[in-house]
Symmetry: C2
Subunit: 393 residues, 2 copies
C-alpha cells in the first residue's frame, strides 16, 4: 500500500478527475447554485424597494433557520465573524479573558476573540474530526487551570478562561459530548463556531445548537449563501432578544424617537441578502444530499489507495461534507504543495488547510498547549472541489 510521491501525485489528480468527470474550465472548490426562487425573491425586494434591514425576508430567513436546525431562535447578521464576535460578548467574554479555540481554524475564530480584547488560547485538534481534542484539553486544563470563586483561572497567566469555541471543520462535527463535559467541569461557556456545518448533525441534533450560542456563516463559499451573512443560534429567549437588540444598534422601539440603551452594532443582514438566503434554504436538504453523494464518490475512489485517505464523517454524525478533504499519510509540505500545484494546473481548484493560528504573527504569542497534531496535520491536508452543483439533482 505504500507509494512513491510522484505516483501519489499522479494518482490523486487522476482520482479527483475521475470523481469530477469531464468539465469545461476551472472546477471551483465550492460555488453556490441558484436554481430555486432566488431571482423571484430578490426581484420582489427590488420591485417593492425593500432591500435594506426592515424587510420581511429577514424574519422569514431567521424562522427557516430555526426550523431547519431545531434551534429555538436564529438571529441573522451581516456575516459569521460578526455573529461570533457578538456571541462571545453575549456570554460575557471581557477584555483580558482567555477563550479556548482550536489552533487549526479559519482566522475569524481567533479574530472574533481579539475584537473582544480577549486572548485566544490555542488548543490542539484530533486527527479524526480535525476539531478540538476534548481528552487532551481536559488533561491540559487539569495542569494549567484552577477554579477560583466559581471561575476558571489560568494559573500561568492569571487570566480568566471564559469560553470554549469548538469549530466544526469542513462540516464534520467535533466531539461535542467530550467538550461539553470539559466545559461543565471547568465552568466554561460553549459557543459553537458552526460556520462550516449548516446541514451537519451530531447524534441527530444539528451542530451549533449544543452550546449556549452557536453561529453560522453564509459567505459565498458556504453550502448556502446570502452573498455575505451569518446567524446566531440559541435556545435561550433572553439571549436571542439581546442578540437581536445589539446587532440592530440597540435602538429602543418607538414611533419616531431615536433612543439607544447600550452600545450596539450595525450587524443587520439586509433584506435583499436574506431573500437570497430564504431561496437557498429551501434547497438545503437537496444540497446536503448531493454533497454527501459527491463525498461517497471521493471515498470510493480513494479507498485502498496508499498514502492518502479521504476524511469521513465521525461515528454517529452526519456531515454536510462542506469541503471534501484528502489527508496525506505523511506530513510533507513539499509533497502537499506539488499535489496542490498539479491539481490547480489541471483546473481543479484545490487548497491546503489554513495556516494554524500560532504560525501567524498576531497569534504566535498566544497561550497554547502542545499542538503536535495540529502541526502534523497542517502539512497533510488538501481540500478538493465540493459544490453540490457537481452532482445531478
Amino acid at each position: 500500500m505504500s507509494s512513491q510521491p510522484e505516483n501519489l501525485q499522479a494518482r490523486i489528480v487522476e482520482g479527483v478527475k475521475r470523481v469530477l468527470g469531464e468539465r469545461a474550465g476551472m472546477v471551483l472548490l465550492h460555488g453556490p447554485e441558484f436554481a430555486g426562487h432566488e431571482w423571484a425573491y430578490v426581484k420582489e425586494c427590488i420591485d417593492t424597494a425593500w432591500v435594506s434591514s426592515a424587510g420581511a425576508y429577514v424574519g422569514r430567513f431567521e424562522q427557516s433557520l430555526a426550523d431547519y436546525t431545531g434551534a429555538k431562535y436564529a438571529v441573522a447578521t451581516v456575516n459569521g465573524t460578526a455573529a461570533l464576535f457578538v456571541a462571545l460578548q453575549l456570554v460575557g467574554v471581557q477584555p483580558g479573558d482567555e477563550v479556548l479555540i482550536p489552533a487549526l481554524t479559519f482566522i475569524a475564530t481567533a479574530n472574533a476573540v481579539t475584537y473582544c480584547h480577549a486572548r485566544p488560547h490555542l488548543c490542539d485538534v484530533e486527527e479524526t474530526t480535525l476539531g478540538l481534542d476534548a481528552g487532551k484539553l481536559g488533561a491540559y486544563l487539569r495542569e494549567i487551570a484552577k477554579i477560583e470563586g466559581g471561575q476558571c483561572i489560568n494559573k500561568r497567566t492569571g487570566a480568566r478562561i471564559r469560553a470554549i469555541v469548538p469549530m466544526h471543520t469542513f462540516g464534520h462535527a467535533v466531539d461535542l459530548e467530550g467538550l461539553l463535559a470539559v466545559a461543565q467541569e471547568w465552568g466554561l461557556v460553549v459557543v459553537e463556531d458552526a460556520a462550516e456545518s449548516l446541514g451537519s448533525f451530531y447524534h441527530g441534533q444539528h451542530t451549533g445548537t449544543f452550546g449556549r450560542l452557536g453561529i453560522l456563516s453564509f459567505n459565498g463559499n458556504k453550502i448556502v449563501t446570502t452573498g455575505g451573512g451569518g446567524a446566531i443560534l440559541t435556545n435561550d429567549a433572553d439571549l436571542a432578544r439581546h442578540a437581536k437588540h445589539i446587532t440592530t444598534t440597540a435602538k429602543v422601539p418607538h414611533a419616531w424617537e431615536f433612543y439607544h440603551d447600550e452600545t450596539g452594532y450595525n450587524y443587520r443582514m439586509p433584506n435583499i441578502n436574506a431573500a437570497l438566503g430564504v431561496a437557498q434554504l429551501e434547497q438545503l436538504p437537496g444540497f446536503v444530499e448531493r454533497k454527501r453523494r459527491l463525498a461517497r464518490r471521493y471515498l470510493d475512489e480513494f479507498a485502498g489507495v496508499g498514502g492518502v485517505r479521504v476524511m469521513t464523517e465521525p461515528a454517529g454524525c452526519a456531515s454536510n461534507y462542506w469541503l471534501n478533504t484528502l489527508v496525506l499519510d505523511k506530513s510533507d509540505k513539499g509533497l502537499r504543495d506539488q499535489i496542490l500545484g498539479a491539481l490547480n494546473e489541471a483546473k481543479i481548484q484545490s487548497r491546503p488547510i489554513w495556516q494554524p493560528m500560532h504560525k501567524l504573527p498576531m497569534y504566535d504569542k498566544c497561550p497554547r498547549m502542545d499542538l503536535s497534531t495540529t502541526d502534523n496535520l497542517s502539512g497533510r491536508i488538501i481540500n478538493v472541489p465540493s459544490s453540490a452543483g457537481l452532482m445531478a439533482r
Copy 2:
C-alpha cells in the same frame, strides 16, 4: 409672524401635504428608487453565481464612487459604521484616546469610537449647519487642551485627543475650513462622517474628501442604497491599500495559502450589494437634482411662515438635501411631538432629530463641552419626506 402652537401644527401639516401632493398610503421619510439597471446587474450576479465578495461589481462600485466624489480611492465596506470604525483605526485611534464628535449625530459616530476602546468627546454644533461649531471648538480646546510631545492632550482627563469626526447632518456640509484649521492647530486628524452627504459639495469639492479619510453609507434610507453598505474615501494610496487589506481579513494574496499578517475584519461588501450600488450610482446625479427640487418646494412653501424655518444649504455649499428639515423657532418637545404625531397620523412619515449623545446612558459620562446649541436644537427639529421618487424625473 408669530403663531399659536395649534395654528403652527395645522400650518405645517397643510404645508407638507401641499408639497407632497396627493399620495396613496404612507409617504416614507426616505425610500429608494430602483428605476435603472438594478435588475440587470443583480440578475447577472445570480445567473453567474457571483454574489459574494469576489465578484467584479465591488471594483466597479469603488471606481464609480471615486469618479463621482473625486476621491482618489474608495474602498467598499459592509456598512458605514464599519467604515468609520476602520477609518478611526487607520488614523491611529488607540484605546484610551479621545475623539471629538458632535453630540448631535446618529449613534454610529459615537459607537465607532467606542469600538476602538476610545472615548467620544462630545462637542456642540452650529444652528446653521447642525454640524460641529469650529469657533466654539477652537475656544474650548484652548481652554482644556495642550500640545505635549506633538500630541494634543486633554488637560482634564490626561488622555490624548487624536481625531475630529465632523458629520454632515442631513446632507449639509459642516464648516470644513474652520474645522480643518482647528485640526491643524492642534495636530488632530480629521475623519469625515459623510454617511448622509453623498452628493453634497463644499465649495465645489465633495464632502468626505477633505479629511485624511471620509466615510459614506448606503443603508436603505440613504440617497443611494446597496441594501446595507458603506465606503471609505481617501486620497492616500497607502491608507487605501491598508483599508482594503484589513476590511478583507488581512489575507496575503497567494495561489492557495491562507496567511493573514494582522488582525483584519470581515467587512467586505458582497458583490450582489455592489451590483445594486453600481446601478444606483448611475442615477445619483438625477436623484440629487430631484431632491434639490423637492427641497426648493419645502423652502418656498414655508417661506414667511412664522414659527418655523426650512433648513437651507450653507453658503458656498451644494447639499443633497438628504432629509428635509423643519426647525421650529422655539425649543418645545411638547409642540414638536404634537406636530410629529399629526404628521405621522396624516400618513406623512416624519421624525425628530436623534437624541443627543449625552442623553444616552452609555455616553452621558463622556467628556463634553457646553452643549447649549445641541440641547436647544434637539427639541426643535422635524424631518419630513425627502425621497427623490417624490419628484418627477
